[in-house]
Structure formats: structure tokens, C-alpha cells
Symmetry: C2
């Protein structure tokens, strides 16, 4: 392994977790409290939750709580908590996960090898996949060209750049509607473009957006092209019923149409569903013993900070039980009894 300033303190770990969002960090709290050495490899810390400015539906934190934190602050506490119990977190992109030892023994317990894009390699008795999803692309002309020059997938990050400008938000779920709400605080006008005529967002958020005089709903409409010179100057949309097109005069286009799971580097070891999500059972086990998964990238039915954290705890405890069973020990019972 080449010397590297960000390398972990050692190469062999009981548990390597890929991803440092609510699922991965919670799993680490649980494995560390079971005294399993735990390394987290991730391209960022905080996952999807850090994109939420006002988190009100994570139980224990809401706006009437003293010290009520934003999404980033909440995730900072998650991170501190995982580190407090001994987890090590290394920034890096995992490009390979391989089973190198089909029958781990006490003498040779490391079943998995992981490789980062910088060439670093780690060995692990257990691997826990918790790296979430990445934003889905529109796939229309101009999208790639103007990314970072008007096209954004992160309203929380980029909204302040569009003060007194016109913007469009594309999508119909909570992220789109929350992005629109946030953008009303900066932009002079917000077009909310949705291919249907009904939104899937929480009524409570939808009401706020509908009440804003800055918001114009552009319903039954698909984006067709993003126009501009050096920066975005317009978004062409097409009505799905009339086929009529219209160019919205905007400097910003926020793409909030969902997320996809990248599974190519683990495809030999996991089963996926139609949405390419990693299929896990109620113990967060994949089809490969020793390989667990938790959070948004799994087939869990709803994607929330609290549901991912709950699944992370299950994955961490299941991983512990798996390692105990390998040693012929009973592990913990399911119950707190």
C-alpha cells in the first residue's frame, strides 16, 4: 500500500462500512459499542440528510427543541458519536469489493478486500454497504454542459447563488418542493416544473410553496433543453398533453427528480430489485454472508433519515451476530431481554 496522508491507521478491520450517512454512521455506533474495530470509507460525511436545512421529522430534533439543529448539524453529531465510540472515517471512493477468502477462520478471518480509487486496500471480516444513492440525470441537451454553471442537484448548497434571479426546479417529490421553498428565499421567481399535475410531497411543505407569490407551478411539463451561452439562460419545457413548448427565462435549473443506486462494483455479491436497489432481508443481510447493507440504497420501503438510522442499527447488530456465530458463540438475542 502506498503511503498516503489520508490512509487509515491500519489495514485490517473487523468491519468496513462504505458510506457515512445516517445508516453508515449509526451502524458504526452499534459495531463500535460491540468492540468491533470499525472503518468508514466514504466520499462525504452526512449523506442525504445534510441537504436538508430544516429537519423536523427526525425524532428528538425539531424546531421547538432547544439547540435544534439543521441537517448538517445533526449529521455532525452522528459523526462525533461514531468517532466517540471508536470509528475511524477515511474520505475515499471505493472502487472494488472482493471476497478473497470464502471460509474465514480465526487464523485467517479476513473475508473481504476493498480497494479505493487511490489504490489503498483494506481487509475486512465484514463489509457493510451504506453509501446511498446519486442524483438521477434529466438526460436532455445542455444538462451536462451547464452543470455548475446554472444546473444544480443541490438547492441547499447553491440556492444563495441565485439571489434575485429566476430559477426552475424540476420534480414532484419532497426534495423538489423543499428546494422550491428554499429558493423562494433567494430567487425572484421560482418555476416548479413537474411532469404530472399532482405532487408527492408532504402537504405541509406543499402548502408553503403554493402560498408563495414567487412560485409558478408548471404542471404536466417535461424539460426538453437547457439553453445558454457560458451560463444557463433558459429552460425549454414541453407540455405532455398539448406538446406545446415554452422557454422559461431562468438562470438556474435545479434537478430534483430522484436518485439511482450504483452497484457495479458489488454486483457479483448482491441481488438487486427493479430499481437497482440492494435487496436485504429483515436482518440487513445480502445474499453474501458477511456482506450487509442499510439505508437508501436498499429495498427499504421509505427513504428517511430515521428509517436509514434504524436499518443501520439492525445491520450493525446483525454483523456482530454473524461474527459471533463464526466463532461458535451465541451472539445477542433479538430482544433487549
Amino acid at each position: 500500500m502506498p503511503e498516503h496522508i489520508h490512509a487509515a491507521s491500519k489495514t485490517k478491520w473487523d468491519v468496513v462500512i462504505i458510506g457515512a450517512g445516517s445508516a453508515g454512521l449509526t451502524a458504526a455506533v452499534y459495531t463500535c459499542r460491540k468492540k468491533l474495530s470499525t472503518l468508514i470509507l466514504s466520499v462525504d460525511v452526512g449523506g442525504q440528510t445534510i441537504l436538508t436545512n430544516h429537519i423536523e421529522n427526525y425524532p428528538g430534533f425539531f424546531k421547538e427543541t432547544p439547540g435544534y439543529p439543521s441537517g448538517p448539524k445533526l449529521m455532525q453529531i452522528f459523526e462525533e458519536q461514531a468517532k466517540h465510540f471508536g470509528a475511524e472515517i477515511i474520505m475515499g471512493k471505493v472502487t472494488k469489493v472482493e471476497v478473497v477468502n470464502e471460509s474465514p477462520t480465526p487464523e485467517n478471518p479476513y473475508k473481504f478486500v476493498l480497494e479505493l480509487s487511490n489504490g489503498e486496500r483494506y481487509e475486512a471480516r465484514v463489509v457493510l454497504l451504506a453509501y446511498g444513492k446519486v442524483p438521477r440525470e434529466l438526460g436532455i441537451p445542455g444538462e451536462k454542459k451547464f452543470i455548475g454553471r446554472g444546473v444544480s442537484t443541490c438547492a441547499t448548497c447553491d440556492a444563495p447563488l441565485f439571489r434575485n434571479k429566476n430559477v426552475a426546479v424540476i420534480g414532484g417529490g419532497n426534495s423538489a418542493v423543499e428546494a422550491a421553498e428554499l429558493l423562494t428565499k433567494f430567487a425572484s421567481k421560482v418555476y416548479l416544473v413537474h411532469r404530472r399535475d399532482q405532487f408527492r410531497a408532504d402537504e405541509i411543505t406543499m402548502d408553503k410553496v403554493k402560498a408563495s407569490p414567487k412560485v409558478e407551478l408548471v404542471l404536466n411539463s417535461m424539460p426538453a433543453e437547457i439553453k445558454g451561452d457560458k451560463f444557463v439562460s433558459g429552460l425549454v419545457v414541453q407540455n405532455v398533453n398539448t406538446q406545446e413548448t415554452r422557454e422559461l427565462p431562468v438562470h438556474g435549473v435545479f434537478v430534483e427528480i430522484g436518485y439511482i443506486v450504483v452497484t457495479d462494483f458489488v454486483k457479483d455479491y448482491v441481488e438487486v430489485n427493479k430499481a437497482n436497489e440492494i435487496v436485504v432481508n429483515e436482518n440487513c443481510e445480502t445474499r453474501t454472508p458477511g456482506l450487509f447493507s442499510a439505508g437508501d440504497l436498499t429495498n427499504i420501503p421509505f427513504k428517511q433519515t430515521i428509517t436509514s438510522a434504524g436499518q443501520g442499527a439492525i445491520a450493525g447488530l446483525s454483523a456482530y451476530n454473524y461474527l459471533m456465530r463464526l466463532q461458535g458463540k451465541a451472539g445477542i438475542k433479538a430482544d433487549w431481554a
Copy 2:
């Protein structure tokens, strides 16, 4: 319905949740945010979590967090959060849940009737079972006689009563070991009685208990009888290998041997597993449409504040989707997309 000072503000509700622990209160946050009228009926508020003085494994709260709360404080925030979004909480014991309307319609949408022990009745479109478990009994002579007079199932509540006295804790899981640890702060001696020779508790807690000179481990031993006059004066234990008996000179006996689920009042509507836990699928649905369940009383593999809260969110969102489907609407998609 008789006039009753504690009755809810109305009798017909979109959602009635039985139980106000982490699962029930989280479910309420989610149903209220979907603008479903939500009533919680419960014999207490806070569930199992309020028995934990030092909660370190609920993500977002641990001892290095500013304002780090105890279990009761955390549950108070959960309660405030549910009420903030509109949930009503009524103290009462539900004795009957009945399906009175097999085919709910917009004109007659109330499928369920619930009855409390005081005779109050409520109608609900959805019922969500989240009332947890109750402590398992030892079933030995003296146990019932001395309950409240030396026998306790709640170390958090009763530990301070045993200052400078000898006590016994019975059990081998986290609750037993945590009870023993807490009791070392008050009692002069703590016998930790376990029928096996290995504990299922977290190593981190076990280490603390083993390090205390006040603790004596009484392994491979079953409690046989609780002795005393007006109050407990001794606990007879029997070694499971040698059959030898021994009387521990204690004034307190803390029974921490697990919990059972009461399902008699819903048995016609749910399936249970061998542990008498309510079987739910990944959407927290029971076998009766409109009847959901979440938390410790379900077949969820691990019983933690965070796992129950995660399941509560799923149950709340599933309940919303069920009601949307009844109205021919799409509901929310699984994803945050």
C-alpha cells in the same frame, strides 16, 4: 360515550395509535405531517426508553452532545414533537379493537372501533399497534407477594430506594447488566444472577460491571424463591449444574429477564410468531388492511429506540399510503425522489 375529563377532543380519527413509545410517537409525527388527524392512546408516555438513564446509542444524542438528554428527556422531546405537529395523547388502556366496517367508503370511512377500560370509544380509519411489551415474570414463590416491597422490574425507578443495601439483579441481557451497573451507585452489594455463564449485554457495559468491586456474578444459577416477612430479606438461587441452593441476603430483587407481548385483544386481526410478536411485513402491515404495527411488539429483529423509531416512520407512511389508495390516489412513492 360518558363524559370523561381525559377524553379526546373528538371521537372519530384518521389514525389511532396505541402506545406512546418511540415507535408510536414517531408514527404520529409522520401521520400528522401528512395532515391525518392522529390520536394516541397509551398507559404511559415514553415506553421502554424512559427506563434508560444514559442513552448513548440513539443517533444524535450521546454524552458529548450539548444538552445530551437521558431516556426520559429524549422521550419528552419525542412527545413534544408529536404534539407540535398535532397529535393528541390520551392516557388509557385499550381493551378492545374491532373491525366494524369491512369496506370503508368516503361516506363511511371508519373501519375500526376501539374501547378503553373506562368505556370510552373511538372510531378510526387506521389503527397502529405500538404498545410494546410488558416485563416477563419469574414465576417463583414470593415474586407476586413482594412486588413493590423489594421486587422491582425497573431499576431506573427504584434503585435509589436501596442505598447501602444488598440487591440481586436477575438476567443476562443489556437491561440486567445496565440495572446492575446503576445499582452499584446505590447498593452496598449487587449480585448479578444469570442462568448461563455468558452475558448477552454490550461488552462496553459488561466491562464496567465486571470492574466494580460491589458486583458478584452468580452464574449458571436460577432463582428459586424470594423470602421475607413484610419486605424481601433473601433470594434463594439454585445452581443449574450442581443443583446446590444458596440464599443471597438481599433486600431488593430486580427482575430483568425479558418481556412478553400482550395480543389477546387483537388476536382476531393479526398473525403472531413463536414469541407471540405481531408479524408485519416491510411496510409494517399486519394481515388486516388498515391495521399496522411498529416497535418492540413486532417481529422486528432487534429492539432498540432507533429501530422502533425507524419502524414507526415506516408504519406512519404506510398508513398514509393505505388511506390514499382507498381514495383512489397514488400515495407517496417509496423514494424521496
